[in-house]
């Protein structure tokens, strides 16, 4: 069987896969990183979004072998070893940007890529457009958009701490 060597959340692994093995299957079933979810499996819902060499991609629509040699970041790789959450995770918590939580890992990974690509800041409209590839079926997106708007201020150093959500 072919082998894939890739670095996931800073740890390098070599894993035997089939030609047809998807990156998300490698992450969940071989590396047991089950934070990356499979929602639709048809590249529409975005629950499986991870970063491959810094770009957000749908892990259900890339072969594991195509990620050979890549740096992959999943939701498990965002918090610091001491448990301090990434500003985007902290914002999702503070703004209650989730209900059932199923779409959340993909939302957070997409949101981080979106914010990183727009250092000058995103308007509410741009955030909504940027989330086109992520579906949430619970919250109606409003709190997700608010969380991303708040997190971008911290991520780009314009705010020391996350603005608290309104009561």
């Amino acid at each position: 069987m072919p082998q894939v060597t890739l670095t996931v959340n800073g740890k390098t692994s070599t894993v035997e896969v089939e030609g047809r093995t998807l990156l998300v299957e490698l992450l969940r079933e071989k590396l047991r990183l089950t934070g990356t979810h499979v929602g639709c499996d048809t590249s529409q819902c975005g629950a499986c979004v991870v970063h491959v060499d810094g770009e957000s991609v749908k892990a259900c629509t890339i072969l594991a072998l195509q990620a050979n040699g890549s740096q992959v970041t999943t939701i498990e790789g965002l918090a610091k070893p001491d448990g301090t959450l990434h500003p985007m995770q902290e914002a999702f918590r503070e703004y209650h940007a989730l209900q059932c939580g199923f779409c959340t890992p993909g939302m957070v990974m997409s949101a981080i890529d979106l914010v990183k690509k727009h250092p000058d800041g995103l308007s509410e409209k741009e955030i909504r457009e940027g989330l086109e590839g992520n579906l949430c079926r619970c919250t109606g997106y409003h709190n997700i958009v608010k969380a991303i708007a708040a997190a971008q201020e911290v991520m780009h150093g314009r705010a020391q701490a996350l603005a608290p959500a309104a009561e």
């Binding site: 030609g19 629509t61 072969l63 086109e132």
Partner: protein, 264 residues
């Protein structure tokens, strides 16, 4: 998905060799169309040949009065390229509306054009701009390349290497998306290049096609009003649960007007 062998050749010659040796091998780059098709078992390749490491297929550059885009250019790269934005802003704008961010981070122009999905965006830019498709064997004019639903002039084992776009004086694109799938219901790409006007329509028919009546009207009067009275014949257009042929025919005129307004 059925299993297959995976190859990642380092050169165009090696890729062509692998694809020529096995008629059931399929090329892959972004895989944003091929992988969903394989999951549905619509296709059963014995092997997939990953083109993503082939330098000859990469790059975006201006060569004289042409913009040359390598087959492996991702939609995100085309959308954000300063070279594309300066030469053909309508093309960059179009690339920025394909699929979603994650699809644009993987999907490539070569894959989209070679696949020729009737609801894809790029084919109308290629046809509207009278681009030339460069393969490993020959050069093909856009008018000869697209041959209807998922069909092109590419022969088995032939690989799309790059697309050469003549730089137009004016160009614009507008589309109506299906509200759920976000695929194109009807789109229009209009371009004026060297005094010649071309109008390409995607999404509405079984393949991208030129709207010659609108081309004639725009040649003498480049304005949305010039096409406002031109009705697209609904005969032969797509008719499905998303919209009737008559609805799509109506959209063609609306999208053409918007595309001309966008071109300025």
């Amino acid at each position: 998905m059925y299993d297959f062998e995976y190859h990642k050749p380092g050169s165009l010659a090696d890729a062509v060799k692998l694809l020529s040796a096995d008629p059931d091998a399929r090329p892959i780059s972004g895989g944003q169309t091929l992988l969903p098709a394989l999951k549905h078992r619509l296709n059963k390749p014995t092997s997939v040949v990953d083109l993503s490491g082939i330098t000859e297929l990469k790059g975006i550059r201006k060569e004289g009065d042409k913009l040359v885009i390598g087959a492996l250019a991702k939609h995100f790269e085309v959308a954000t390229s300063e070279v594309v934005k300066a030469a053909i802003p309508a093309l960059a704008q179009m690339a920025g509306t394909i699929g979603d961010t994650q699809v644009r981070n993987r999907g490539t122009i070569g894959g989209s054009v070679a696949n020729n999905d009737p609801a894809a965006d790029y084919p109308s830019a290629v046809l509207g701009l009278n681009a030339t498709i460069v393969t490993d064997k020959r050069r093909i004019a856009a008018d000869d390349f697209f041959q209807g639903m998922f069909t092109t002039a590419l022969e088995p084992g032939e690989l799309l290497v790059a697309i050469e776009f003549p730089i137009p004086e004016k160009a614009g694109y507008a589309k109506m998306r299906n509200p759920a799938s976000r695929y194109v219901m009807a789109g229009a790409f209009v371009a004026k290049t060297g005094g010649t006007v071309r109008v390409a329509i995607n999404g509405a028919g079984p393949g991208v096609f030129r709207q010659t009546e609108m081309e004639t009207a725009l040649s003498t009067n480049w304005s949305p009003e010039a096409v406002a009275g031109i009705k697209q014949d609904a005969d032969g257009l797509n008719s499905d649960i998303h919209g009737s042929a008559e609805y799509r025919a109506h959209l063609v005129t609306v999208m053409a007007k918007r595309a001309i307004a966008a071109a300025g």
